[in-house]
Symmetry: C2
Subunit: 355 residues, 2 copies
DNA sequence: CTGAAAGCGCTTACAG
DNA sequence: CTGAAAGCGCTTACAG
């Protein structure tokens, strides 16, 4: 019966007539073993079809998994991390560091499953797009190196995020400088579900934009608008899931006077252009559109999309470096960059010319 | 000193005044433990900051990692798997099954590192885009469930691939039916390096197309051409890495009489359209282009790209299901699908009309 | 350089 | 339902 079951290192040692320790050394410290014995052991390995030290047992003794994990944002499955273009840019940044360090990458779904995080076989964890800081608890308990993204988790915790306020400001400033005065805003709905319309009016709840990072974008829009004597309260907002195709049309209906749209997601910005063009509006002559996140699709649309680059790839690189580096925790804040492409231009009838 | 080091289950048991077995049961079989004791144990867990059973130790006893691994194609790093649009589609298929099964996904780089495959902490392995069958050896030795992609590995081994011959045939047939008679072919260079030009002529080596799967595409092209009395030997071929921008121009130079281009990669097909348009050629009026693999970018170009859909996502789904299912190994062959978009049309001066 | 022994941190029969 | 004991398959001091 021991013939058919999986051979262990002890079987190899016995078959080669050496001690268990010596057999182990052949794999861990080959130089320590006399070549003759080494060959005898390898012959037994061959003979028995031994596949090398069991990774689990080896791990328990020696302790390094050689993998780091990315924890998906709330409500994301594994597949969503691979389908969401912004998150994918972020993962590419992490992956670059993995390749540099020779580490594997494991993708863990929705952090709501704390058990999965407790039992993940990784050397460190990166929490992508954190909404609730509570998700990091299992990592802290396990004393695993970790970093969080898109939120400042306070002192003692590695974090990296982008200045979303500055990004929102830059987007709105760009459009205002082109003479635009009538806007529509597409907010983020992080849950699945139907789009929500928030009509103009004072005292709208801050959650109308989405999560804290989206609220920052909104504050950035508002700040730029205020500089031109405009109030964000007068702007119709639709809040939608990035893949909700109906929402783009809804926003265009509600903001039918708008000459420019500020979108918190690049996917929705693309959708808005498509719907506008279907309705006979020229982009940017009749309507300018500015998105958030420089996903690859943004450069391929007609016209190419002006976006705020939220520097997702750098975020991934930095987060990954943080968990490899044995250094004191720090909180990194990245500056967004406005990438002006052809989807934004002077407001109709304005004196402005593209720079 | 035991106060500062990581607490073990035994510490919890001692602190709670229960046996080690009982403490273990609290985590593995809570129902077996009287509530009163359970609470006492959990209080000690809290008190000591115990983070739950060590995953490595648990794994060694209980044996399930709850992860499956994707092994990258040869010469791919982790980051390449996330940047290559075709491979990403494939991984999305795998990820869908991961989510259905509640499994994590680990990405392993280049299979040349057999040690990494020997020691990967996974329940099963999927070899993506296999060139050399030898890469599967470590998985076989470990008696790990596995599946290989893009090659039939013979009886007893799970495999899934697409009928590349049929795909090549369909692409060429489509163009021939539109009246095209002059072609250029863009082949695949799987290594990094400069593009290679293969001038028309008999007895060109079969490796001019790339790996076996690319050679099948070429045979498919050839079969369709032959039906119209044309020989693939008369067609100039450039073989290039998908991201080699110079190659598109080179092919257009060499095949300057062509009214249609057959490209084995979608990225190069897009590049070819771009270069042609820069040169003042209208697509498809002056030049038709057909790519391979229905990557998302293909639908966004102007004009949208006609492609052979190699069904990458389904390949991923099927491969993943194979390693979860406890069923006899099988070899699955998928049929490609031609997706006609606007980059292909009637040959200039031909009588044909789009169907 | 080699071999016998301890132990990594758990889970799981097994007897009570 | 509980507790003492064995053992998962290795690696690593430690004495020779």
């Amino acid at each position: 019966m021991t013939k058919t079951s999986k051979p262990r290192l002890a079987d190899v040692a016995r078959s080669a007539g050496v001690s268990l320790g010596t057999a182990s050394n052949v794999f861990c410290y080959p130089a320590k073993v006399r070549p003759e014995l080494r060959e005898r052991v390898m012959a037994s390995v061959e003979l028995l079809g031994y596949s090398g030290p069991d990774p689990a047992a080896r791990l328990m003794r020696a302790g390094k998994v050689n993998s780091i994990g990315i924890v998906a944002p709330a409500r994301f499955g594994v597949v969503d991390t691979l389908r969401n273009s912004s998150f994918l840019l972020f993962m590419q940044g992490v992956a670059e560091v993995c390749d540099a360090k020779g580490s594997n990458l494991v993708i863990l779904p929705d952090p709501a499953d704390t058990g999965a995080i407790h039992s993940a076989l990784v050397d460190g964890l990166i929490f992508g797009q954190v909404e609730q800081l509570a998700v990091i608890e299992p990592a802290r308990l396990r004393r695993l190196p970790f970093a969080v993204v898109d939120v400042d988790a306070g002192p003692g915790i590695n974090s990296v995020r982008v200045d979303a306020y500055g990004g929102g400001y830059a987007a709105a400033r760009h459009l205002l400088d082109q003479g635009h005065r009538k806007f529509g805003i597409m907010g983020f709905l992080r849950e699945f579900g139907l789009a929500r319309y928030h009509p103009p009016g004072p005292a709208r709840d801050s959650s109308i934009a989405g999560m804290p990072i989206d609220q920052e974008k909104l504050r950035g829009y508002a700040a730029a608008l205020a500089e031109n004597g405009l109030s964000v309260d007068d702007i119709p907002i639709v809040q939608s899931h990035p893949w909700d195709k109906a929402a783009a049309a809804a926003l265009l209906d509600r903001a039918h006077e708008a000459t420019a749209i500020l979108s918190m997601s690049a996917m929705q910005a693309i959708e808005i252009m498509t719907v506008a063009q279907h309705r006979g509006l020229a982009v940017p002559e009749d309507l300018s559109v500015v998105g958030f996140n420089d996903i690859p699709e943004a450069a391929l649309t007609t016209p190419p999309l002006t976006v705020v680059d939220a520097r997702n790839t750098e975020k991934g690189q930095i987060a990954a470096e943080m968990i490899f580096r044995q250094a004191p925790a720090r909180a990194e804040l990245l500056s967004p960059r406005l990438i002006v492409r052809a989807s934004s231009g002077p407001a109709p009838g304005s004196e402005n010319r593209p720079q």
